[in-house]
Structure formats: C-alpha cells, structure tokens
Symmetry: C2
Subunit: 273 residues, 2 copies
C-alpha cells in the first residue's frame, strides 16, 4: 500500500539511510535532508520510537542544529495508546520533514502499525512531506520490511524474516548496515520469495534519496547494492527447505555510489546529472 | 500495493477460499463465483500455476461446467518466461473472472511475481474483473502473504513466514485450511508483527467475498476467523526471541459464518441483509 498520493508527483522524498550516518564531520546526508526540507525555515519532526535509549531524540536535536535545521520537534511515542493521541498527530502539522531514528524496526511496527500517527505520516508523505529513516528507521519505510535475519552471502530459505512496514512505497525492500554486516544473503532471500520488489542494500553513512518520480540518488560514503530479480529465469524458493541454499537464476546486481541515479520504475541506472 | 483502481468502487471482488471447496454436492461457493461473473455468458480464466499436477486445470474445467459457467480458459504458466509472453496476457482479454487453484503459494510468487501476467491480473481486478483463489490461491491474492509456518494455537516468534503476494488488497493477511490445520497461532503471529492488517482465517469449503467497498460476506460450510489487533494495547514481538511465545494484549476476534458481513474499513460486523 503506497502512500495515498492525492495528485501524482506530489509525494515527498523517501530517504532510507544505512545507519551510522556522519554526525560530526561533513554530515552530507543530514545536510542534504535538511536542505531538501527548506533549511532554517522548516520544522522537522524526530521520531525516536525505534530506540529504547531515552536521549535519542535530544541527541538528534543537537545534530540537526549543527546542520542549520529549522525547529526540531521530538515526538516521544512508546505505546500504541500514545500513537493514537491527538497531540502526536498535531506535532506533524506544518512539518516539512519526518525523521525515524535507529533502534529496532519491530518496535516501530508493533507500536505504530495501524495507528492514527502512522496514518498521518503516510498522508503527510503523500502530500509532499519528506520522510527519512536511519538503520531500523530505513527498514520501516517500505511496505515489505526486513524484520530480522541471519548474516552471510549465500541466500538460504528461512534466513530472513519479512513483516509489513509503514508502506510509503512498495517498490523496494530495504536492508541497512549492508556490507558492514554481510547482509546480501538475506536481501537475496527476501527477493527470492517474490521478484517484483527491488532490493536496496544500503551501506552505513549512505542514503538513498527516492524522489516522487521514483528515481533515487545515492548520497554518502558507502554504496547501495540494487538487487533486481524481475528478469530472473527462476527462483527455487517454492521447493527449498529452511536452511538450504536457494537457487536464483539471472538476478541483476548494480552497485551504486555517491551521485549515482537509478530509476525504480524503469529498473535502470541513469546518466549522472 | 492495492490494485491500481482507476475509479474508486470499480474494483472486482477478491475471493479467498479456504481450500477443499465442495465440487460435487451443492457447490455454493463456485456457483456464487460463477453467478457473480455473469454465468453462461462470462469467460473465466483458470490459473493452475500453484499446482504441480498436470490435470489441475482440466479438473476445474469439468467442475465449472457443472455449475453452468461460461467458457473456461486454462492458462498453463509454469515459468517466469511464460508469464511474460503475450499469449498469457491475451488469455485475460474479455474474462469476467480469474481463478487461482491450490498448490503451493510460493510457486505463485516465484513464477508470477513482477511479471507482465501478474500486472495484467492486477489491472483486470482494478477495472472490475473478479479474482478468486482457493487454498494457496487464497493466500496469494493479498499484499502480505503467509508463505508457510508451524501449526498450533499459541503465537510464537518465528512460527510464520511472510512474503510479498499479488497485492490486490493490503488490508488483510489470509490463512486457509484454517481450523482444519490449527493455524490460529501463525495468523496471530503474522498480525503481531504489525497490527494494521486484519487477519482472515478461512476454513475449508468457506469463502470470503470481498466487494469493491471492502465489505465482505461469508459463504460456505465453515467459518472465517477475523483477527483485529488495531486496538491492541501492546505486542511483544520486538523483544521476543524466535520460538518463544508472543504477548498480544487486547486483540479482538470475530468468528463469522455463512451470511455474516464484515466491513474491513470500519473494522466491524454489519447486520445481515
């Protein structure tokens, strides 16, 4: 279920970040996000629900202030009841951007899934508010979310757990801390269940700025691994027992770096601008 | 990603059937489906891709003929290459209904997912063609599909495998052969990941006729168990290790039988007509 976009092309950006984004040196991902939102004039909402640490929200207030953001509102939601309160929804009013911190993506789905707050974020994105998420927050933004899994390079049946996410887009399945935690096996496994989605493996300190036209640009120090199985000839997932390796014939991989652009609709790399 | 409905309210019915539908006696599910499609005048397409048996399509030609159907076209697709051929798409032209047989739902996602045929079925449903599926075919129609899992009444982390399905609707997660195979634990587990979706546990010889207004009616001999966790206070999934029981506080269950009607948007049972 993609965001209920009232007019095609008006959706805000969707920005999964691979975790551990630079907060001290050149901070190009956070600067780019704040610039997109409108800089000093634009309120941004931070949602630290994924994290159990109490200072996660306050930490991002400092970090965003150092990249010349507008006012930062931290919305502390840690129960489903809080996610259905009018104050939570009101915090989104007038916001130009929403930022989901890292932590555990199952906290995001179990606390926010189906609540008024989740619905309000979906509607905000549909009318042009940009939504970024880092680490667990990156996994959460898509419709099919990697909830967990095992490390390793070979896809094996049962090595990944999928769950419904926020559903701002359904075109991608996102994994984060990608090369740092050796996650290509679990991303390939996720795609092997149904090749229609495109797998995005986002490295640390790297972000994927997905525009309303479903073209994304890579920003940051690492790479993004794009797994496209739509033209694959076969996937053995239907006959593979848990723990056994999966056969996947004809998967296309693209490894993209800072400045690369990719069209998720046409499934191809674009010329650099 | 629900079907790309051009005009709201024009979508065809979505009809998950719990498997083992009566094919010999009063056959009320199949009669109702054929009647909805338009009876003798209406071509219906049977897709036996889930099954590895060679005679599955032919068997349904006989079964539908006995309930006074229109012409039945069997589309045999067993590879991704076949699912991208123009003949497969042409078979859908003029069809009033599409029927996915039982078998293995991962054959449906791995062979059809992301292909031209899957896209054509989605578009057909959006413009008014009715799509039914029995057993594996029932699981396949929704966006979040139960690919497999373990039996038992207690929800346990890791007891269900979710995968992306065809995505005609995202409001429900469907399980089939429901009471016959003791699947309430795995359906509760699926909903515990993200309470926004409504769980539908469909018994054998029982069907859920979901209309374009997202109101469904139960038809058949068994029941449909509706799991609604949207008002639940908490789900422990974010802190539960695989194999351990999941705490879910405040889930609402409705057990519905032949003639019951339920509004998936308002999440409530309606008066009988």
């Amino acid at each position: 279920m993609p965001s209920p976009e009232p007019v095609p092309g008006t959706r805000g950006f969707i920005i999964p970040i691979g975790g551990a984004e630079d907060k001290m040196a050149d901070r190009r991902i956070l600067k780019r996000f704040i610039g997109l939102c409108g800089g000093r004039d634009a309120p941004v909402v931070v949602v630290p629900t994924a994290s159990e640490a109490e200072d996660t929200g306050a930490r991002y207030v400092d970090v965003f202030d150092r990249v010349e953001s507008g006012p930062i509102r931290v919305v502390n939601i840690s129960t489903r009841h809080e996610a259905d309160q009018p104050e939570a929804i009101r915090a989104l009013e007038g916001a130009a951007g929403i930022f989901f911190t890292g932590g555990n993506q199952l906290r995001l789905t179990t606390i926010l899934g189906g609540t008024d707050f989740a619905q309000a974020v979906r509607k905000a994105n549909a009318r042009g508010v940009h939504v970024a998420g880092t680490s667990a927050g990156a996994s959460f933004v898509s419709g099919h979310m990697i909830a967990g899994g095992r490390e390793g390079a070979t896809p094996k049946a049962g090595m990944v757990t999928l769950a419904p996410g926020l559903g701002l887009t359904n075109r991608v399945v996102i994994d984060q801390h990608f090369r740092e935690r050796d996650r290509i096996g679990r991303l390939l496994t996720a795609i092997a269940y149904n090749p229609y989605a495109i797998g995005l493996g986002v490295d640390e300190d790297t972000a994927c700025f997905i525009g309303p036209d479903n073209v994304f640009e890579v920003v940051g120090r690492g790479g993004i691994t794009v797994v496209d199985a739509n033209d694959c000839e076969s996937s053995s997932m239907a006959r593979t027992a848990d723990g056994h390796p999966v056969e996947l014939v004809g998967v296309k991989l693209n490894i993209l770096i800072h400045g690369s652009r990719f069209d998720l609709g046409a499934r191809r790399v674009l010329a650099r601008e």
